[in-house]
Symmetry: C2
Subunit: 120 residues, 2 copies
Amino acid sequence: MLFFGAVKDLNPGKVVSRKSKLINPYLIREQSMLTFEAAPHQGVNNIIEKMTSLPFQRVAHRIASLDAQPSISNGIFVVVTGELLVDDEQNPQRFTQAFQLIPEGSTYWVLNDIFRLNYG
Amino acid sequence: MLFFGAVKDLNPGKVVSRKSKLINPYLIREQSMLTFEAAPHQGVNNIIEKMTSLPFQRVAHRIASLDAQPSISNGIFVVVTGELLVDDEQNPQRFTQAFQLIPEGSTYWVLNDIFRLNYG
């Protein structure tokens, strides 16, 4: 029996990031895929280029839910939902982001990454 | 280079399902995991029991986005967002559901399944 669980009641804290910190190059590989608002990107350079070209300077995330399950080949399947605010925007946008993490040594890298804003 | 893409502009059609049709037993195995609103369920009987005990009779889904990527071990990584209406409810609820599909013969089964309603 695998253990899997959910972080149900995260504190509604906010994490504010500069755009340049949104992507950690140590977590991506040439096989890594990012589908960002329907547009596909693959590989270290393409993913970094996409994330650094986003039209804002900083973004605040409020995580509403974070669920994880063990997955195939000792990977981890992760789904995050929440809200984000870019720059001086006052109206938060809901988002969903899901990842497939692959083990490597004592760490993991991101094979699959799908990001969506959740419009009404 | 892997192909991966997104179904960006789905017709805003609605799919109405009876509760008993929400889960397809042919797509789940004993290893299958479902995290439904933070609660973990594993195995065919547990997942069917959860889905058939939901407190409504029918549900209408409107799919807003469906993104898929090839994943490890020839799997498929899928994220769906949209809205749902249960029974005679008038106010739709936004949801996110993500899957890791595993190939078997000419079909796939669901190893990972995470479902969340997206509250404001």
